[in-house]
Symmetry: C2
Subunit: 228 residues, 2 copies
DNA sequence: TTGCAAACGTCATAATTATTACACTTTTTT
DNA sequence: AAAAAAGTGTAATAATTATGACGTTTGCAA
C-alpha cells in the first residue's frame, strides 16, 4: 500500500519545501543520511489523514495537491484549505498537546508524501540549526497569520473589516489593486458578497474611497482609520 | 533603567514558566550557566513593548501582569489580551519573518521580566532537548488554539457559533457548567450579549438545550450538530 | 469574432443582530 | 448585615446583514 522507496526517488524533493530549503547545499547529503522516512503515494480521492487521528509524523507533500475537509458531523463536508506541493502539512499539530487532526486530508491530485517520524524531526532540528530555525519561522508565521485573520474576522461590522483590510492592503499607497475578487473577500470576511459590495459603495459615495472593480483609491485615510 | 542583576535574583524564577519548567532539575544549573539574560523591572503603567517595534529577544514575565493593547490609530486603545506571571510573552513573533509587534505591552502591575536574546534561545534549544520540545509545544498549542477560535468566529450566525461551542464544551456529557460568563461568551463570539442570550433562550424553547444560568443540559445533540 | 463563464453592481425583502434600557439574582466587598 | 458589583434574562426599536434574483461588464476560449 505504501511501499518503501529508495532514497534517490523523492527524498531530495523535500529540499524544495520551505522547511528544508534552508538546509545548506553542503549539508544536504548528511541530512539525508540522518533522515528516517517513508514515501507514500496516493491517487486522487485517497484519504491521507482522517479527522480525529493523531499526528505522529511530519508529512511533507512533495508532489500533488491535498485539500483538508471538516466533517459536519451530519455527513456533509466543508472544504477548509487547499495545499499544493511542495509544502509541509499540519506543522501546527505535530507538536501540540492535543495532536489529533481536526480535519481530514484528501488528495485532489495524485500525490506523493514524505513521512518523517516525530522523533527524527527532533533529532534533525537539534543537529541542523537552519532546519530548526526554518521550522520555528514556519510555525511562527502561522501564528502571525492566524492572529491577523482572527483580528479581521473579530471586527463586528463589515465597515470595520473593510476599513481594516483596505488599510492593510494599501501598504501606505493611495492607489492599489485588490489581490482577490470581491467574492473571495466576502468569504474571507465571513459575510455575503452583496452586503460587502453595498458597504463598499457606501464608502465610495461618502468620498472615503474610490472603487473601480479591482482598483481602489484611498481618498480619506483618516476616516478609514477611525472605523475600527 | 534596566540594571543587570545577579543570577540568584530572578533567573531561577523562569523555571516556573511553562517553557522552562520542562528542563529537568539536574540540568538547571547548567542551563543557568548557558543562559544570557537581563532582568528588567517595571512599574504599573510602564510600557514593555511598543506597537511596531521588533522582537529580538524572548521575554519571560516572572512577576506581575501585562496587558497588550492595540492602538486604534485614532488614539484610542483596545485591550487585546492579559498575561499573568509566570509566562513567556509573544513567543509567536520572536521567530516570525515580520517580527514587529502588532500590539503594545503595558504593565498593569509592578512586573519583572527576564529578557533572553534570540541567539541565546537558539543555543539553548539545541543544547536542551526538553526546552526545545516545550517551546515547540507552546507555539503549536497556540496554532491549535487560534485555529479553533477562528473556526468559531467564522461561523456566520450566533446559533451556529453557540451550537459549535456548546458541543465542544460538553465534551460528550449531557450536563455541564459553562466555564465563562455569558458576557465573556458574547465577547468570544464577537456578538452582543443580549443577542447571544436571546438565541440561547430560543434554543431552550425549542427543547434543544436546557439553560439555568451556568448550567447547560443538552437535550438534542443531533439538532446542535446540524446547526453548523 | 462570437460565445461563455466569471465577476461585478444592484435591488427588495426577510432575517439576524446591535443598542439601550430595565428588573432581578447572585456573589463579593465592606 | 448591608452595600456594591457582577451576572442574568427580557423587551422594543434601530441598524445591519443575508438571501435570491437580475442585468451588465470583462476576460478568455473556441
Amino acid at each position: 500500500m505504501h511501499p518503501m522507496i529508495p532514497p534517490t526517488d523523492h527524498s531530495r524533493a523535500i529540499f524544495q519545501c520551505p522547511l528544508c530549503s534552508s538546509v545548506p547545499e553542503e549539508q544536504r547529503d548528511d541530512f539525508l543520511e540522518d533522515l528516517r522516512y517513508s514515501v507514500r503515494r496516493y491517487e486522487k480521492g485517497d484519504v491521507v489523514v482522517t479527522q480525529g487521528s493523531r499526528y505522529e509524523s511530519l508529512y511533507i507533500l512533495v508532489k500533488g495537491e491535498v485539500v483538508t475537509e471538516m466533517a459536519d458531523e451530519k455527513g456533509d463536508f466543508m472544504k477548509v484549505e487547499q495545499l499544493r506541493a511542495p509544502n509541509p502539512m499540519a506543522t501546527g499539530f505535530l507538536f501540540s498537546n492535543d495532536n489529533r487532526s481536526p480535519v481530514s486530508a484528501i488528495c485532489s491530485q495524485p500525490s506523493v508524501l514524505v513521512v518523517i517520524p516525530r522523533e527524527n524531526v527532533y533529532f534533525l532540528m537539534r543537529k541542523y540549526e537552519e532546519f530548526m530555525m526554518a521550522f520555528l519561522s514556519y510555525i511562527s508565521n502561522k501564528v502571525s497569520f492566524l492572529s491577523e485573520k482572527l483580528r479581521l474576522v473579530s471586527l463586528r461590522t463589515i465597515r470595520a473589516k473593510l476599513a481594516y483590510y483596505l488599510l492593510k492592503e494599501s501598504a501606505g499607497e493611495s492607489r492599489f489593486l485588490l489581490k482577490i475578487s470581491k467574492e473571495e473577500m466576502a468569504r474571507l470576511f465571513s459575510v455575503s458578497r452583496p452586503a460587502l459590495v453595498k458597504v463598499m459603495m457606501e464608502m465610495a459615495d461618502e468620498g472615503i474611497i474610490g472603487v473601480d472593480r479591482r482598483e481602489i483609491t484611498i481618498q480619506n485615510r483618516k476616516a478609514l482609520q477611525s472605523m475600527f
